[in-house]
């Protein structure tokens, strides 16, 4: 089951790699600025980007780190990241195809860990966080940013449904409470949680993933049939654009 899901991720993201490199949602943001600022303070020898996707965290870390290890399950994504890093003159980014649950890195390798918009694809978030902790040095900053749910079942169900229809490799968006518990259990002390909202332009959001038309229709149907509370919560617009909740967890490895 796991391998199938991993291959699904590669099949889903490999062909869309260029779109993720170009994506404005992914290429900028306060969370990315925060990761870069922390890295600038710490000046890590080895910084780890878990689920690098279009490589934006790796590009942000590279000027401040000795080496950046950009890990992902998608070979297509990694090839694009390697090429883009070369184009940007970022010679210290190394790409590794790996599963976050078993990274193939030695214990206490990284003195900085970051992951952004990736964890909702992880089939076992708890195991991924434990592995992140294993490869992190004690005291290493670790910053995790992702889309989160409010923790209210009504909104949670709507979000997971539209996410899965858009992207068959979607696993789950977690609540802040779930995140902090999993981080604690994995051995990360949460220092701060920054909440934000992110507007997604529907047409761009769909195009970036190459969502089949039948699924686009289903998402629109779900949105149009949603209750007033759900429509208000996600600020669903006439064209399907809506607001997501995001969170950045600033932690340190125990």
């Amino acid at each position: 089951m796991t391998t199938t899901q991993n291959r699904l991720i590669d099949r889903q993201f490999g062909p869309m790699a260029a779109a993720y490199v170009e994506s404005r949602v992914h290429a900028a943001g306060a969370d990315l600025d925060l990761i870069a600022a922390r890295a600038a303070e710490v000046r890590p020898s080895v910084a780890l980007d878990l689920g690098t996707g279009g490589g934006h965290v790796a590009y942000a870390l590279a000027p401040h780190a000795g080496e950046v290890l950009a890990c992902d399950l998608s070979a297509g994504m990694l090839a694009t990241v390697a090429r883009t890093a070369a184009e940007k003159g970022l010679a210290n980014i190394r790409t590794v195809e790996a599963d976050v649950r078993a990274l193939g890195l030695d214990a206490a390798t990284a003195d900085f860990v970051a992951s952004r918009y990736s964890a909702h694809h992880w089939t076992d978030l708890a195991a991924g966080l434990r592995e992140a902790r294993r490869v992190a040095k004690a005291g290493a900053p670790a910053i995790f940013a992702d889309v989160v749910t409010s923790g209210v079942a009504l909104y949670d169900t709507h979000l997971q449904a539209v996410e899965l229809l858009r992207d068959p490799s979607h696993v789950r968006n977690r609540s802040i409470a779930e995140w902090t518990a999993l981080l604690r259990d994995a051995g990360f002390e949460t220092l701060a949680v920054r909440r934000d909202r992110l507007r997604l332009d529907f047409a761009t959001w769909i195009a970036r993933m190459g969502t089949p038309e039948a699924h686009v229709t289903a998402i629109r149907s779900l949105q149009e049939g949603a209750s007033a509370e759900v429509r208000r919560h996600f600020a669903i617009e006439p064209d399907g654009s809506f607001l997501l909740e995001t969170a950045v967890f600033e932690t340190v490895a125990d």
Partner: protein
């Protein structure tokens, strides 16, 4: 996957990655290095994802070999593929 399998399985005297004869040296052009053979600085950080033991680099076959797991992890376009399902099972004579 086996997140708890990181036992002390490294063989005595095995302190790090074994570099194959075709290894690019550290002064090689970064872009060429990135596209072809795996980066030597990266090799120092990698271990077998299953056993967490050291790997040996076969530059000729472009593989990272885990003796303890009896697996050879491919390196494609300079990118190590540390996924056990993508690895080659070592033959009895290897």
């Amino acid at each position: 996957m086996t997140p708890g399998a990181d036992g002390p399985e490294a063989r005595p005297g095995e302190t790090g990655m074994t570099e194959g004869s075709g290894m690019t040296d550290g002064s090689a052009d970064e872009t060429k290095n990135r596209r072809g053979k795996v980066d030597p600085r990266l090799l120092e950080l990698l271990v077998c994802p299953l056993t967490k033991t050291t790997l040996s680099y076969d530059a000729g076959r472009q593989e990272l070999v885990s003796r303890s797991a009896r697996l050879a992890f491919p390196v494609r376009d300079g990118i190590p593929i540390m996924i056990p399902d993508e690895a080659r099972q070592l033959g009895e004579d290897e």
